[in-house]
């Protein structure tokens, strides 16, 4: 594990060591083993989802399919049973879309306005409020669940689409606010002052000056929120109601409530289908995803 060419650790230009010393072999050995460990579940998921059941019963978990079939995928999408209904996971897919999209847009809008007001206007008491909001990020969801159920039921939003969207906006608010606050805090204050001198009001400066400059942070926020909301299980289970159950909840229903023989191929196809949106987003967005992880964390 000796470092060769130690002077060149600058990320941009990194000449690789060409010599294959035992230490280098060790490094690659470890990384390859680790990569296998990380990839095996994905591989098992994929091959299982295209095997017919009689092949699965043979017990060759890691073998490639002998007669690949897409029937499990069709079944997972259209006809697998999620509890009493047997219409596959497609309903859950669309429910997740309808939950995720408005929740993402609203929580980004609220987060952007919060961050902007906190960074530039700093109304009295806002910092204390922000501190409480950040502590709120650590309140275990369970503390809030039942009171929120009661509150939403009181205004007839419990088990409705607007209800679950509202819940996602509330739970996403600390992270979104922090993200935008940190971003706006990194912009030069003079910009804002100049806009004030020119007579810009609160909303005008936000809409015409700040928002157009916020594209990078909006992209990061969108990736984070789509991933978080799409992958949510608990909130969907409690607040969405039976007509709006998200894909994750339906997936769990398909797999953990089946009676009779378990159709592992259908289960794995349904699992991949459920993971498809966040995985596609992850593979396409690359570094932006990582930036989202680090963004809220760097300044704190």
């Amino acid at each position: 594990m000796k470092r060769d060419a130690i002077a060149d650790i600058v990320p941009a230009v990194r000449p690789r060591s060409r010599r294959l010393t035992p230490a280098r072999i060790g490094v690659y050995g470890f990384l390859i083993m680790a990569a296998l460990f990380f990839l095996v579940p994905l591989y098992v998921m994929l091959v299982t989802s295209v095997k017919p059941m009689h092949e699965i019963r043979l017990g060759n978990l890691f073998a490639l399919p002998m007669s690949p079939t897409l029937a499990p995928w069709r079944s997972a999408w259209q006809s697998a049973c999620t509890g009493l209904e047997c219409e596959g996971i497609r309903g859950g897919f669309w429910n997740s879309v309808w939950i995720t999209f408005p929740s993402m847009v609203l929580s980004i809008a609220v987060g952007a306005v919060n961050g902007y007001a906190l960074s530039f206007w700093r109304p009295r008491g806002a910092n204390a409020l922000f501190a409480v909001l950040m502590m709120g990020a650590f309140i275990p969801g369970q503390v809030m669940l039942y009171p929120l159920v009661r509150a939403l039921a009181a205004v007839e939003l419990y088990s409705t689409l607007p209800g679950i969207v509202l819940v996602h906006v509330i739970f996403g608010m600390p992270m979104m606010t922090l993200l935008f606050r940190n971003y706006y805090a990194s912009l030069p204050e003079e910009l804002f002052k100049a806009a004030r001198v020119d007579g810009g009001g609160f909303w005008r400066i936000f809409l015409e000056l700040m928002l157009p400059m916020s594209t990078p942070v909006i992209v990061v926020a969108a990736i984070m929120q789509v991933t978080n909301i799409w992958n949510d299980f608990l909130l969907g289970l409690v607040f969405a109601g039976s007509d709006n159950l998200p894909m994750t909840v339906q997936l769990n229903n398909i797999i953990n409530t089946t009676t009779g023989e378990r159709l592992y191929n259908v289960n794995m196809a349904a699992t991949i289908l459920t993971s498809l949106v966040p995985l596609a987003l992850y593979f396409l967005s690359g570094r932006w995803f990582v930036r989202g992880i680090a963004a809220g964390a760097v300044k704190g």
Partner: protein, 297 residues
């Protein structure tokens, strides 16, 4: 005069704009906490009641074997999960930082599980670990007929399978955070260490690790939040079983809130969980804020 009036109007806009945040903080955070605290000292079962029973629910809670087991499980899980993620994540970051080929691809591979839901990864691991058709069967078919790997249906070991699956899912997060920390370390440090003839592993343990503290504390906080929330993976992998072997507090609270309709007891459990979180996160958060401040100066 004009300027002041303008300021005031603009400030009002700021207050109005922050209204959703005010309502969330007061209603969704403080309000729900107070409400839960109030219910936890009442005898409420299905519906909230106005009576006051002191700490009766808490006494009952700590006589409840399932709750005690949940807490114990969470403690064991938490230590193993956090340690596992930190060790694996740190090793991955250090090895990736050795100027290896295919760095981008490796990073993508190590982090992709984190983009999936805990339900999905839980189900995959449940499938791989199931003794009838999973790894155990594969190894037995290779000729090792006595091989057993049935942890997921073993009362004493099922919890470790949840550790395995979630470490697999979350250690990429630690890797990503620490790698960006490693990249921020000054090259001069490596030169100096080399001139002094300090072994590389020693530099990592004694110099680099302390320098990574801001990134580490961030990782710790994120991991700790995942520990407390542990619910999805348990539901997907074992549903709390076999028996009650993998029960955790989040699941206990859910069951008593919605399944067993005992909101008084569930509220008491929530408050205990909240207190634990505050007791652990607050010092961590404070230490991290200090470290970040020092770093900026």
């Amino acid at each position: 005069m004009v300027a002041i009036r303008k300021n005031r109007a603009a400030c009002w806009s700021a207050y109005i704009a922050l209204l959703p945040m005010v309502l969330t903080v007061l209603g969704a955070y403080i309000g729900t906490m107070l409400w839960t605290a109030r219910v936890s000292v009442s005898s409420a079962r299905i519906f909230p009641t106005g009576d006051f029973v002191g700490l009766g629910q808490y006494e009952r809670l700590f006589r409840n074997a399932r709750w005690l087991l949940s807490l114990e499980n969470l403690a064991i899980y938490g230590v193993l999960f956090v340690a596992g993620c930190l060790v694996l994540g740190f090793l991955l970051a250090v090895f990736i930082d050795q100027k290896v080929m295919g760095e981008g691809a490796l990073r993508t591979v190590f982090l992709y599980p984190y983009a999936m839901s805990f339900v999905a990864t839980g189900l995959v691991w449940q499938w791989i670990l199931n003794p009838e058709l999973g790894i155990q069967r594969v190894v037995r078919r290779l000729g090792f007929t006595d091989f057993t790997f049935d942890w997921i249906v073993d009362q004493d070991k099922a919890l470790y399978t949840i550790v395995l699956a979630t470490v697999w899912q979350a250690s990429g997060l630690v890797m990503a955070l620490l790698l960006s920390g490693l990249r921020g370390i000054d090259d001069e440090l490596w030169k100096a260490a080399r001139i002094d003839g300090i072994p590389v592993w020693r530099v990592y343990v004694s110099i680099v690790l302390p320098l990574l503290w801001p990134a580490l504390s961030t990782a710790l906080i994120l991991l700790f939040a995942l520990v407390i929330k542990l619910f999805d993976a348990v539901v997907a992998m074992t549903q709390g079983g076999p028996g009650t072997a993998t029960e955790v507090p989040a699941k206990f609270i859910m069951d008593y809130l919605f399944g067993r309709a005992n909101i008084g007891l569930a509220s008491a459990a929530s408050i205990v969980l909240l207190t634990t979180v505050v007791a652990i996160v607050a010092p961590l958060y404070y230490a991290r804020a200090k470290a970040v401040q020092r770093g900026l100066k």
